[in-house]
């Protein structure tokens, strides 16, 4: 039972944290809970479908279907996270300052919310399908152990949900002014981590072969599947044996998202300045 609990918890750790971070990042945004719940529901549904079709998926692309599907899911999530951070760096501060949201800001929030709901759905889909397969296997194995495995699995899911709650409330303890920069930074690191994981699957599929050598091995110091290692892996993408390509893509993703955020932010301050100087936008009195 404990083994099942640990396996399921380890599988959903990352998705659980992502949901917690997204919940904190969208706190106070109209309908955000509905969007996120929708993302989770779609992810769970997708998990069952993917688990049921695992044979077909595996056989696709000359046996490399699983790898390419994982890499695709992760890449889409990275683009969504980058988009969210860019939009929010333009409009997030309006929200933080309780400035009356302009029409453009409202529509940006809605789009950003959709982007995050997709990320949540994809994260749940990717890890949920493995949980679904594991639980299916436990039931199919039958015998007296099936029941205790199922119980362990359910406890694992519950611990994952508890982690989401913990992440959410932990982030909410951060003072309001800092919450936005902190969640933006976390989202940037999660995106970089996902990009590096996409590289892992492309390397496994034999699509990416350059810079494949292991950059470092810190598995003796801090194993990735240990307690601290798992949490750091979920939060910032800690990897105890990355390839040089994974390291490069991680750094590049952080760099690109930071640049995008800066570009969008400077654009937004120019707009605000123009609004204040009253050149063409009416200023509320």
């Amino acid at each position: 039972m404990i083994a099942a609990l640990i396996i399921v918890f380890r599988e959903i750790l990352e998705a659980g944290m992502i949901v917690g971070i997204v919940l904190a990042a969208t706190r106070g945004v109209v309908a955000s809970r509905l969007w996120i719940a929708g993302g989770i529901a779609a992810g769970v549904l997708g998990s069952f479908v993917a688990a049921a079709c695992i044979g077909v998926i595996t056989a696709a692309f000359s046996g490399m279907g699983q790898e390419l599907l994982n890499a695709t899911i992760l890449s889409i999530a990275v683009v969504m996270l980058a988009t969210h951070n860019s939009w929010m760096s333009r409009h997030g501060r309006d929200l933080a300052r309780h400035v009356k949201a302009t029409g453009e800001a409202v529509s940006a929030h809605r789009k950003s919310l959709a982007a995050l709901a997709i990320v949540v759905g994809l994260a749940v889909l990717r890890e949920g399908s493995e949980v679904a397969l594991f639980l299916y296997g436990s039931i199919a194995a039958g015998g007296s152990s099936a029941l205790s495995m199922m119980a362990g699995g359910m406890l694992g899911l519950a611990s994952g949900a508890a982690l989401t709650v913990l992440t959410y409330f932990g982030l909410l303890r951060i003072p309001g002014k800092l919450l936005f920069p902190v969640t933006s930074a976390l989202i940037t690191f999660i995106a970089a981590s996902m990009a590096a994981q996409a590289v892992f699957f492309l390397e496994q599929a034999g699509v990416v072969t350059t810079l494949a050598a292991t950059a470092w091995d810190s598995s003796g110091l801090m194993p990735q599947d240990g307690f601290t290692g798992s949490i750091l892996h979920s939060l910032i993408g800690y990897n105890d044996q990355p390839s040089w390509m994974q390291v490069a893509v991680y750094i590049l993703t952080v760099f690109l998202i930071s640049c995008l955020m800066r570009v969008f932010r400077s654009h937004s301050s120019r707009l605000i300045q123009r609004a204040i100087s009253g050149s063409h936008l009416p200023v509320a009195r």
Partner: protein, 110 residues
């Protein structure tokens, strides 16, 4: 005309290169009653390896190895193919993540 011929030749050689990858050593292991057989398999070091893992159980498994950088689900009664890049001599542990306590094996590159 010559230009076209060149294009055709280049295309053909690229296609051939894709169709016939450099020869890889082939190794096969199977998973039954949540155990690998053989649990220890020796492969030549410095050579690309095509590893086939057959799951003879009816339940799914997840073949995983951090050292070999592999993570792949195997449905019940089916198999997966894993392409390994040339390995340095050494021992590489692999396991079935769904039954890590019992299903473990080692790949030895010599």
């Amino acid at each position: 005309m010559r230009h076209h011929l060149l294009t055709v030749m280049v295309t053909a050689s690229v296609l051939l290169a894709i169709a016939s990858p450099a020869s890889a050593a082939e190794v096969e292991i199977s998973l039954k009653s949540n155990g690998f057989s053989p649990a220890e398999v020796t492969v030549p070091a410095g050579e690309a390896i095509t590893l086939t893992v057959r799951n003879l159980d009816a339940t799914p498994a997840e073949f995983e190895s951090k050292e070999l950088k592999v993570e792949k689900v195997i449905a019940g009664n089916s198999s997966i193919v894993v392409k390994l890049r040339p390995l340095k001599p050494g021992r590489y542990v692999f396991f079935d993540e769904y039954h890590e306590d019992v299903a473990k094996g080692t790949l030895i590159a010599k």
